[in-house]
């Protein structure tokens, strides 16, 4: 009897342990602040695909035992104001464990300080401005390479190939991201000993770039560098070709979108872009990512790859924190992420919480981007 009672107690205790670990299938909320409308809408849509795919894969594989990821996607409208609203909702109402995004650096500079103050970790998956993102504080991390990391490498490869000696630059001066891209281009050109013959600017709502392009073309540069968002980028490429500019064009990160090629048509042909995602990489995780995206009927791009990687980095952080998904756990876990295999390559963080992996150079050819080996 006594034995039986003891066994019963043990069984009950075991049942109790079992039920806690089952019901403690703890849900970790991830808030994704993405620009699904506004100037950056083309990026937001593809980021969303990448994030949802990754969360789905992780939940199904059960690799996070006892933890289930739940993704909440909200539109930041490509604007600071709406970005701040979305962050406040995530932090106070939804009480998410970690925030992915926002899409634009400009929005991040305004919204990220709220998360830092509330001690909610943020993982940026597309912010490329070298300044004003991760230096906000120790809760702000990023997957995306900065323009500072991508452009100099890509420009060096382009110079090896085309051997240009002079350049002209056109950039959007009303956006943190395009302005930062310009600063890096300028420095990279100087470092490579390429002479900048002229510089012109435009603003996001502009549709007509003929005056700027005519002035730059008249200087006779060997290459035209452009730092612009995709919407402006395609129109700039078209108008440059219509004005009879025949030299090479190299774009900043904003050109990195299938929408650019679709809207620019034949004018996109030959345009060079640095990229932090080497789509041609034969790495297993990259090939799996591409196949999974295609199976969903979407063409993967760099923004999808970075967003997808972002979710896997969070999952790894949760794992490294002992399968715990609190706000503090995730920050502690992020600090330990090292050489994680992702579609972007082996991923680690730098000491300043920025992403670190190998960039590549690509060229628009026959309607899509092809990696220049």
């Amino acid at each position: 009897m006594r034995v039986a009672r003891r066994q019963l107690a043990l069984a009950a205790a075991l049942a109790f342990v079992g039920s806690t670990s089952a019901s403690a299938a703890e849900t970790v909320k991830i808030g994704a602040a993405l620009s699904t409308t506004g100037a950056a809408a083309v990026y937001g849509a593809t980021q969303r695909n990448g994030i949802l795919l990754a969360a789905d894969e992780i939940n199904r594989s059960g690799e996070l035992s006892g933890v289930k990821l739940e993704v909440l996607v909200e539109d930041d409208g490509s604007s600071k104001e709406q970005g701040i609203n979305v962050f406040q909702r995530f932090i106070n109402r939804d009480r998410v464990s970690v925030i992915l995004g926002p899409t634009l650096s400009t929005t991040a500079t305004a919204a990220d300080p709220l998360a830092q103050a509330a001690r909610v970790p943020v993982l940026a998956v597309s912010n490329t401005s070298p300044k004003g993102i991760t230096d906000i504080g120790n809760y702000i991390w990023r997957v995306s390479l900065t323009e500072q990391q991508v452009i100099p490498g890509a420009l060096r490869r382009a110079k090896d190939r085309l051997d240009f000696k002079t350049a002209a630059v056109l950039f959007g001066n009303d956006d943190v991201f395009t302005k930062a891209g310009y600063d890096v281009m300028k420095k990279a050109l100087d470092d490579l000993g390429v002479k900048t013959l002229g510089t012109q600017t435009f603003a996001k709502p502009d549709r007509d770039y003929n005056a700027q392009l005519t002035a730059l073309k008249a200087l006779g540069p060997d290459i035209l560098l452009v730092s612009a968002l995709a919407d402006n980028a395609s129109a700039i490429a078209i108008q440059a070709r219509q004005l009879g500019y025949k030299g090479p064009i190299m774009g900043g990160n904003g050109f990195n979108s299938p929408a650019f090629i679709k809207n620019a048509g034949t004018a996109a042909e030959g345009v060079l872009v640095g990229t932090s995602w080497n789509s041609a990489s034969p790495d297993l995780s990259n090939q799996r990512f591409i196949a999974a995206m295609r199976a969903k009927g979407v063409d993967p791009d760099q923004f999808a790859a970075q967003a997808y990687t972002g979710v896997y980095v969070i999952a790894e952080a949760i794992k490294l924190a002992g399968n715990k998904g609190g706000r503090g756990d995730i920050v502690a876990g992020l600090a330990k992420v090292k050489d994680l295999p992702t579609p972007l390559g082996r991923f680690s963080f730098t000491a300043s919480r920025d992403g670190q992996h190998e960039p590549a150079l690509q060229e628009a050819k026959g309607g899509k981007f092809v990696i220049v080996q």
């Binding site: 809408a41 600017t201 007509d208 003929n210 005056a211 919407d231 129109a235 078209i238 219509q242 034949t266």
Partner: protein
């Protein structure tokens, strides 16, 4: 240099085209219809859908979408202006309600066509170019410059020489007096809105064809410049709108070429300021014909 003159004339013709329809209602009837830019945008989208989805030829899609824009104008007048007419400061309340209509139109465009930049299919218009010395000009650019001048002449003739034009001017002078003389004021104003919006729509389609980037907020970039052009040209003056459009386009282009694009808006709005100081009625503005 030659290329920049062409760039300036082309940019100016876009401003002029937008301003021509705008000034018929704003300059002549003294009603500021802030939904004009939304009609400009919607008409471009309608033409885009006719060409992109129904595969109509642009020469068919153009008149159809322009007629649709005209009807939108009648709707705007009926919904945003007519119910308020006769109240005190009805032009101001009409301004506010037309702003609401603009917001509704933009939301419709967002819902139907999405926030992304859309473009006409490639080769909707022949992409032929002319070379003048070192300068390049697209055939379409020539057409647009020509259309803006032709529209200006047609509108001036309409206002000065036709029965409708006389009625419009009579209504502008005094709605009450016109009504006493047997003019159907509501019909005349509706007709003005039809013509104005049809012109705005035509400008939108040509803009969409020329720049190949149409988005729900595309009208906003030309709206302010269009207003500036109307005021510099002189309220209600068609030749003034076109001349001021070309002047603003050339000024912007040469500012960019000489001082860099950062100074563009500073120089053009400074010029607007100077014109308003020196000639408050604008370049072609007539002296007031009556004492208020």
């Amino acid at each position: 240099m030659g290329q920049q003159v062409i760039n300036g004339l082309f940019l100016g013709s876009i401003y002029a085209l937008f301003a021509l329809g705008y000034t018929l209602v704003f300059g002549v009837l003294d009603m500021l219809n802030l939904a004009h830019q939304a009609v400009f945008m919607l008409c471009a989208f309608v033409a885009l859908s006719l060409v992109g989805f129904l595969h109509l030829h642009i020469l068919v899609a153009f008149p159809v979408s322009v007629a649709a824009a005209g009807l939108l104008g009648v709707v705007i007048e009926r919904v945003a202006f007519r119910p308020l007419r006769g109240r005190t400061s009805s032009n101001i309340s009409g301004l506010i309600s037309s702003l609401a209509v603009a917001t509704i139109f933009e939301s419709i465009a967002l819902g139907v066509w999405g926030p992304d930049v859309s473009r006409f299919p490639f080769h909707t218009v022949p992409e032929r170019q002319l070379h003048l010395g070192g300068a390049v000009i697209q055939e379409l650019q020539l057409v647009i410059i020509g259309v803006s001048v032709v529209m200006m002449v047609a509108l001036t003739v309409l206002l000065r020489r036709t029965h409708l034009g006389r009625q419009i001017r009579a209504v502008a002078e005094s709605g009450l007096a016109a009504r006493v003389l047997g003019v159907d004021v509501d019909r005349v104003i509706a007709a003005s809105f039809f013509i104005s919006s049809a012109l705005g729509g035509a400008a939108g389609v040509l803009f969409g064809l020329a720049f190949n980037s149409i988005s729900p907020d595309v009208g906003r970039s030309v709206e302010l410049k269009g207003l500036a052009v109307i005021i510099v040209g002189g309220m209600g003056s068609m030749p003034g709108a076109v001349a001021a459009g070309f002047a603003l386009g050339l000024l912007e282009v040469f500012t960019v070429a000489r001082f860099g694009s950062s100074y563009r808006d500073a120089v053009s709005f400074a010029a607007l300021f100077v014109v308003l100081l020196a000639r408050p009625r604008g370049l072609f503005g007539a002296a007031p014909s009556r004492v208020a």
